[in-house]
């Protein structure tokens, strides 16, 4: 007799507008200047940051879901708020991934508790969504990077 325990929590992004809430094929949401073709993540909608471009006309774009590992590190101690850490805290790895098409490098935690021993610079990585934290009504998600299966020596 615990009726409330049966209520399913709603999936939600931890911050709106950064990625599609698609658990299977997520994409980061950016913008691209229609004049100089420069990409922005997070999305830029007000002014183009290219100093040689004075346009302010942007298209919404979904960034490439895969890239190459530029560098990586780990967080062995619990980051302070506004990070909401799982208790007990479990160390995680962090990846910097280069997206070729967009010509930019994007940071993110490495998914599924994979540590630095599983990582190698240059290896292909893909975007996934993972739970960041929960409250009583929602499960909040963020993006992570994950080595593409079998790609460790690529």
């Amino acid at each position: 007799m615990e009726p409330f325990a049966m209520i399913e929590k709603t999936n939600a992004p931890a911050v709106e507008g950064l990625f599609t809430m698609d658990l299977h094929e997520p994409r980061l949401l950016g913008t691209r200047c229609r004049a100089c073709r420069t990409y922005f993540f997070p999305a830029e909608r007000t002014f183009c940051r290219n100093p040689a471009c004075d346009h302010s006309d942007f298209e919404d774009v979904r960034l490439s879901p895969t890239g190459k590992l530029w560098s990586f590190t780990s967080a062995n101690y619990k980051p302070p708020a506004p990070f909401i850490a799982k208790e007990p805290f479990e160390p995680f790895a962090i990846a910097a991934v280069e997206l070729e098409e967009e010509g930019m490098t994007i940071l993110g935690q490495v998914a599924d508790g994979l540590g630095v021993a599983a990582l190698k610079t240059g290896m292909p990585m893909e975007l996934v969504l993972r739970e960041l934290y929960q409250d009583e009504e929602h499960v909040y998600y963020t993006w992570n990077w994950k080595p593409i299966h079998g790609g460790s020596d690529a």
Binding site: Y39, C53, S74, A93
Partner: protein
Amino acid sequence: MSKDVAVLGAGMHPWGKWGQSFVGYGVKAAQDALKDAGVEWKDIQLVAGGDTIRNGYPGYVAGATFAQALGWSGAKVSSSYGACATGAQAISVARANILAGLCDVALVIGADAAPKGFFAPTGGRRPEDPDWLRFHIQGITNPTYFGLYARRRMEVYGATPQDFAAVKVKNSRHGLHNPNARYRKEVTLEEVMSSAVVADPLHLLDICATSDGAAALVLSSMDFARKHTTHPVKISAVSTVTPRYPNDIIEMPNLATDSKAGVGLPEIGFKESIAHGAYEEAGLGPEDMSVAEVYDLSTALELDWYEQIGLCPPGDAERLLRDGDTSLGGRVPVNPSGGLACFGEAVPAQAIAQVCELTWQLRGQAEGRQVEGAKAGVTVNQGLFGHGSSVICTV
């Protein structure tokens, strides 16, 4: 027109965790700088404060806070912030006023009382603030960036964690006799390597602590200085450059770099451009430097700076360190003060403290850590969001 201003006086409050207000630290450093200069507080025409953002409203208006504490005198005031580069902003304001002839003598002060552990953003939900966003959505702290750069050195240049640890060993020796340093104890390679890994490949002893501390300078026109001293140390250049677009190296506190898809990379990267700007202004080059104070937030970052300030080509920093070139007694000692490794970071004081050290080095007063015959020195530092900071001192 000469771009030189004189450093008439330098003073510090020792770094540590003293549990007091940043105001008192700043006043102590200012009083020492005034005494060193032989100038009285009532004669100071401009107070340039470096702000601290962790000590409430008085910290945001640090210039006035210090002026009030020293006793209202009617002096002009300035308060500026540039994260780790705050001190260079304050120095730049004072220097520009002096060079423009708007004042003859100025007092520059930076002080901080720092929290324990990781620096974290201020409160509230602010998704549009990259500093808030990186903590909240990915748990990315400052050491994350230090770890990424260190791993990159290993991948690109074959650096090892032992190379990084050797920077700490060197700096701990340099700082042994520095009365203003917080950590005055020799550290061994084994101690660094056996300290806990914080941000792989960096250990606890590879990463600088956060400290309380204060530093102050009395700056004046060369004409004013001649009435007080014969051969003053001079500030010959101050570089406060921003990056050029696009910056393809991931920088604190961002989650993404600029895109290079639409625009080609600039001729010079941001970190390389910082000291470059100072060399150009001074009409000097890296080969003219006898000493350098660089911002060793991590041991591996000190190695990056060797290359970025032109002491050696990219990839040669480990060799420079191993050959002893950057140790006291070597070709161009780096961080003879002991650097952040021995001080810990007192954010708004740090860039000013670097100039204090160069002043003492160029006067031959750096007891126990003197670079013999030092004639010119360079500082370099970088503040969050793109504040370059580099000062060249000559004598």
